[in-house]
Symmetry: C2
């Protein structure tokens, strides 16, 4: 096995999927896992086999890869704009049950027109800004107005609402995270009531991620959650208190130089492991600290040279952000009991459009 390479612990993966399935059974809240983390139809299939009702995709390209891999129920959680995107979207809707989201009338009318022309029907959710001030219509009346507009468009099947409190996923303190999630759910459910007051049934209220799904599911009226990272976890999510998931993903890297005492240079840098959410950690109890040193090198340092691995030695790094690290790699090396059992292609890697 040549390094650097992503190692996926199959047993830990199975346990994380089982824990989410158990959560769904216990709470009655449906789970539509976000594939942005794994980008791999095979893993999506495992999630669905464990009870997930479909998958969530950030981008159309991810959805195309999932449909090609046999997944047939897909929510695209990001607004799609532009003629070429709409052609791909309506084409995909011939092969799968596709739902997408809207935060304004112009985009909704364009999608409806494209769907009508292609003679397909798309599920439609209104995207509500519940916390993170990214996309989304404002809660309450503006949300209800847009819902009414969307429900009146041809070839769109209005299903309900989406509201994603992405900014709360990494609030480390569970108490603060719950309080702020409750506020966000308050906005989302107020919008639900405003929509229903217009006589429109709301079948789907889709929200939350790994950090907030337990809090969101406690609100009656939330029908489903969209967690992604729970299957792998990462250094950042391991710092988030109160989550019942375990680390399943590491990057194996080799020491290629021991230029001086107290320093080991490894073969993984910015092109192998992401740093947008901080520095990766070194797995194990050795107290080692990793820093990227350019695109293809990293540095392990210790005042005690003896704890550093020798030339040719390997260490496992814990990504700080699993999603962006997975997106750098073409394959998972799937490991059980210390042996590689399989290589899984990350089919939707790089599908950003």
């Amino acid at each position: 096995m040549d390094t650097p390479v992503l190692l996926l612990d199959l047993d830990a993966l199975h346990r994380n999927i089982a824990r989410m399935a158990e959560f769904s059974k216990t709470t009655g809240c449906r789970v539509r896992p976000h594939v942005k983390s794994h980008k791999t139809p095979r893993v999506a299939r495992m999630q669905i086999d464990a009870g997930a009702i479909g998958v969530t995709c950030a981008k159309l390209g991810e959805a195309e890869a999932m449909v090609a891999g046999g997944i047939t129920s897909i929510l695209i959680s990001t607004e799609l704009v532009g003629e070429s995107k709409l052609a791909r979207l309506t084409s995909l809707a011939r092969h799968a049950n596709i739902t997408t989201v809207f935060d304004n009338r112009t985009a909704a009318a364009a999608v409806a027109a494209a769907a009508k022309q292609a003679d397909v029907t798309l599920g439609a959710l209104v995207d509500v800004n519940v916390a993170q001030d990214r996309t989304g219509v404002e809660p309450g009346t503006p949300g209800a107005d847009l819902a009414e507009y969307v429900a009146g468009l041809p070839n769109l099947r209005f299903e309900g609402l989406q509201g994603y409190e992405g900014n709360l996923q990494h609030v480390y303190d569970p108490g603060e995270r719950r309080t702020r999630c409750d506020e966000a759910m308050g906005k989302l459910l107020a919008t639900r009531r405003a929509v229903e007051a217009r006589g429109l049934p709301v079948r789907i209220v889709s929200t939350a991620g790994t950090g907030t799904c337990a809090f969101a599911a406690a609100h009656e009226g939330v029908t489903e959650v969209q967690p992604g990272s729970y299957i792998f976890m990462d250094a950042d999510y391991l710092s988030v208190g109160g989550l019942p998931f375990e680390l399943a993903l590491t990057l194996l890297t080799t020491v290629i130089s021991r230029p001086r005492r107290g320093v080991a240079i490894v073969d993984a840098g910015f092109k192998s492991i992401s740093t947008d959410a901080g520095m990766p950690r070194v797995s194990g109890d050795g107290g080692l600290v990793y820093k990227p040193h350019g695109d293809e090198h990293g540095r392990l340092e210790s005042p005690n040279d003896d704890v550093l691995p020798a030339l040719g030695g390997v260490v496992q790094l814990v990504p700080s952000h699993c999603d962006t690290t997975v997106n750098l790699h073409d394959n998972f090396f799937v490991v059980r009991d210390g042996r590689v059992q399989a290589i899984w292609t990350i089919a939707a890697r790089g599908r950003v459009s």
Copy 2:
């Protein structure tokens, strides 16, 4: 054309390649461009056609992609360690002229043994730590000792020295950059003299990047430079004073939401454009500022809503770091006179091992 997508300005690319060729002619210093920036055999071929003597690769996987693309003279600038790597290395050496680098005896002996067993000969450079304290043997006597050792190993053809002052590439002030580069070259050339004093001819002294190649080439005894980013440039290199190269690479992104006045949300985030060297810039004179807002979104803000593009509008982002941004994408969309002329596959994308 679906966004986000990398746009490569073909005329600017040609001009950058021509400027480097002119530099080589004027100074007499050979150029062995680093493919880490473009990862594309087609671009390597353009560089060689313009006079480059071969290419430099950071990783064996890049070298494999280059050989598959018809490039036959390759320097791998990073130490290779481990049985599997050496099997691939010696296999590759059957199809191309491969030179690699060493900073210790153990690794050199292992490569020599593998080369002997495979009945191939590899070029060998001693990697000297001239400035950045990453890999590399110390200059002077330690470098000469290792050179003598490597020259005595079977199936290695000792060619000379490599020393890369990577930490100086982005020193913005040309005066300071030159002074510190001169120091680094002093160490490298002192090592050259120490090696020659042992009776070993030094045919290659390979060094420098886009930021320092002009300064390095002014030193007699430096035989070649390894610039990579000059063909594209990026926001960081555009801040480096005194470089004669122009921007050839941008990321096209579309506004997918205008949730409130003064804010436009675009479809490019951490998975489309890298931030390890700071934030990308927005191309043009509008004074717009881009910030990533998650993996697949970015945010343009302005107190003056009128300068923001409308829903469906596009902007070009200037990557802060071309190498790590290119590594996120599978293709360049090659543009001339505002039209897409070709799509070039980034064959070595993700080849980190």
